[in-house]
């Protein structure tokens, strides 16, 4: 392999990139002229350029699909673009709800509803849900439950008092 590589002569180092660009027509007229002058006297660079002309076309393998392929391609694209456009329209409709003016309007309406609900709601719900006497019973019931609790507390207090008065270490006997 090394022997093969030796057979492939390199172009002059300072001209090699220019030769590549020259091959692709990327050199200006003046630069090309300068390069052509050099090529006249340099076999290595001539060989390099000849190799590019001989070898680089080999790397291209264009595919040439038949006409039905292109017709199908266009048809598919039209369908897919239409689908995207349709989807975009749906999003635009949705997004239109969030345009600048509806947002504050909607927020104001929500705040008003909330304020009215908090102000009048409690009274309305109470009066609608229960008749006044049943409502009074419901208010007394927890108090009655609390009475039992207070009774128990009184009992405990009495026991403490008994202990204080009748206990051995109180000095009353």
């Amino acid at each position: 392999m090394a022997q093969d590589n030796d057979l492939i002569r390199r172009a002059c180092k300072e001209f090699e990139q220019d030769l590549v660009l020259y091959y692709y027509g990327e050199r200006g007229r003046e630069e090309s002229k300068e390069l052509e002058n050099h090529l006249e006297g340099c076999g290595s660079c001539r060989q390099f350029l000849a190799d590019l002309r001989r070898l680089l076309p080999l790397t291209v393998k264009p595919d040439d699909p038949p006409q039905p392929f292109w017709e199908n391609y266009s048809k598919e694209m039209q369908e897919r673009l239409a689908a995207i456009a349709q989807r975009g329209r749906w999003w635009r409709d949705l997004a239109s709800l969030f345009r600048p003016w509806p947002v504050p309007a909607l927020a104001t309406a929500l705040v008003l509803i909330l304020a009215l609900t908090l102000t009048f709601g409690k009274r309305i719900w109470r009066s609608q849900d229960l008749p006044p006497d049943e409502e009074a019973v419901l208010e007394i019931l927890p108090m009655a439950e609390n009475l039992d609790f207070f009774k128990a507390m009184d009992l405990l207090d009495s026991m403490d008092l008994l202990e204080d008065t009748g206990g051995p270490g109180n000095g009353s006997v």
Partner: protein, 193 residues
Amino acid sequence: MTTSRPAEFEDEKLVTLAQKGQREAFEVLVERYKQKAYRIAFDFTRDREEAKDLSQEAFLRAFTHLQSFDLRAGFYTWFYRILVNLCLDYRRRRGRIAWESFDEKTHMAGGQSEMAGAISSPDREAMSGEISRRVGEALQALPAKQRTAFILKNHQGLSIHDIAKVMQSAEGTIKVHLHRAVATLRQKLAELV
């Protein structure tokens, strides 16, 4: 209402119309560039269906992001950047591609893929699948940026200026990539042919 046919409009006008919601204007752009788009995708994928999918995907992405497209930039360059990025992503996803299978596919598809610019000498006619495979391997072995610059220049004929825009690199960098790619390929192919 204009009496001109959209097919005759320049890219810029078509993009403007498409941005305003005229899908048909974008379809004209698709018709205008579909073959170029397909071929560049094919250069990267070496597969007809994959190339079709990738190039169509590039058009769809361009259409979806059309509102963000700056009219001062050329549509062609912008679109090609989308396409090339998709192709590079595809290569990253797929890893190594069996380039040799491409030769089988194209031969089976009718064998009408004549080498561009090739001289129909008996030697060229007789170029075996082995050589074709080695050409593919040589391209495959190039670093990604060198290969991309090479494909865009050698296969697509883009100018260095346009390649630099597509690859978002300096023109000097593209020249270096191209030079290295060509020097490597010349070295490898000269051993074969």
